[in-house]
Amino acid sequence: MSFYLETYISTYVFKTLYLPIMIKIVLAVAFPLVVLSAIPIVVWMERRGAGLIQDRMGPNRSNIAGYTFFGLLHPINDAIKMIMKETLTPERAKVLFYFLAPALVVIPAIMTFAVIPVAAPVEIEGVVIPFQVATIDTGLLYVLAISSLGIYGIMMAGWASGNKFSMLGGLRAASQMLSYEMVLGISLVTLFMIYAEIEPAAIVESQGELIFGFIPKWGIFLSPVAFFIFITAAFAECNRTPFDLPEADSEIVAGYHLEYGGMKFAMFMMAEYLSIITMSAVVTTMFFGGYQLPFLPSAKLHALAGPFISPFIQIAAFSVKTLFFIWLYIWARWTLPRFRYDQVMKLCYLKLFPIALANIFITAAIILLIS
């Protein structure tokens, strides 16, 4: 029996057809699980970070037999509480859409991560293991397309709740996210032109090179303007401070998730943190060299550390960079006050949009001159 299995495993058909599919399935299961389990850690970072920034201790009461684990148990407690809560449906809610909305917010937020490469593909005994769920030609366009699908969930939540504050929150979220979606896309066009690629893995590979022999060929060094525009738009996309108008407590209570309680509310929170993680991953991939270590492109790393260890090093590098941007989200939240709504729109259409367009033309001119 084992003899047959061994011969089958070594066959060409298995190695080229079935094994890659199995690897993809494993990745497709592992990626969402890892990203989802990162949410409690991000929540913990946010709470403890907020505490320390504001000269407080942050949550530290939850414990198991007296051990608080630095407050890491609070998200678990929250999850238990949220799951155990009673399901309430507002009287005026449109029930189908009211229940559908949280799912429609969470699913795109998880799906976006599919095209992000977390390490360079390695070849072990003739089998290529890619550390990317989907290698598709549309690449980052897929990220933009899917992340904008999240707006439907938010609009649906705002409208189906049957509450005026929710409605206003949903409207604000929709207009803000649609506007900044455009800026987000346009700021990325610069990088597409520079790398002449839109597939994330290929872009990250070319970011392993150097400019002038000493600067890593990262997006931030090639086009800092695009980076700052992108990160501003990314903050607005995630409805985070200073652009958290859809959830402006002082004006519209909690915005689109006002009428949601229990696990449905938790799903909105999850979606928020998921989109933070995804956006941080996209920023890392596009502007900070993704999984590339500075001055140590993946080809060199493979030669140095071998195909078994180097993916772990690259995953660690990717995680550290992504964690920094997640921290930037948290850091900015406790630093910057909320914008007024007209300021948000003016910033988008009268400032960021023209700058992003000008950036495209200038970059195009420079590329033309160099080539």
Binding site: I53, W331, L336
Partner: protein, 221 residues
């Protein structure tokens, strides 16, 4: 003329650097870009300082650790007892008269056994839900029968009835000694006072530390 007087006062404060004058923003400030980084610098300074000096945070982990309260702190009342175990209270109603919150209820009774004090309270109840802890009852008492030196302030309970403190509660060790960290009789009171005078140095030290930490984070607004 009167206006001139006011302008003179504002003139006096004109050069005071602590007054935040309303001035138009400079171009760089209106650009907002650099100001973001300045703001981020302020918050990260706080974060890093608190991260590496976590024990210096002014927060007290309340139910686990309690702040040492001074001996003169007006806490939950107690009825003092004579050496023979009877209450010092002679039911003169001066405390309930003095009480601004009208929370003391007394029912007087007479000693029938020839006790020279003649009167005693049959019922002596303080409604802790109404009490404002002003201490006027203590000042009004001619017999030193009521004191507020227990040092108890966490008087939460599950029902309103339990918060109407009866004579039994006011003359007994309630809530039990190990849970309350206050003083109940003279010896405990002295011990608490000794602790307090020792704690004074600690409090001073804590205050100094706070000042120091404020000095360390100078640039924040």
């Amino acid at each position: 003329m009167s206006n001139k007087k006011y302008t003179k006062i504002t003139d006096h404060f004109k050069d005071n650097e602590f007054i935040n004058k309303n001035r138009p923003l400079t171009f760089l400030e209106r650009l907002y870009f650099i100001e973001i980084f300045k703001g981020l610098a302020v918050t990260i300074k706080h974060f890093l300082y608190n991260f590496f000096n976590f024990s210096k945070l002014p927060t007290i982990d309340y139910p686990d650790k309690k702040r040492k309260i001074p001996a003169s702190f007006r806490g939950r009342h107690r009825l003092t007892l004579r050496p023979d175990g009877t209450t010092r209270c002679v039911a003169c109603f001066l405390c309930s008269t003095a009480c601004p919150a009208d929370c003391i209820y007394i029912e007087a009774g007479e000693y029938s056994d020839g006790n020279p004090n003649e009167k005693y309270p049959l019922r002596y109840e303080i409604d802790m839900l109404r009490c404002v802890f002003c201490g006027l009852c203590v000042e009004a008492c001619p017999c030193d029968a009521i004191r507020m030196d227990t040092g108890l302030y966490d008087l939460a309970d599950y029902s309103r009835e339990d918060l109407i403190f009866t004579k039994e509660k006011l003359t007994s060790d309630y809530p039990p000694l190990k849970e309350r960290g206050g003083a109940f009789n003279a010896e405990e009171f002295e011990a608490a006072r000794a602790l307090e005078s020792a704690g004074k140095d600690e409090n001073d030290k804590a205050r100094k530390r706070e000042k120091q930490s404020e000095g360390d984070i100078k640039n924040d607004d």
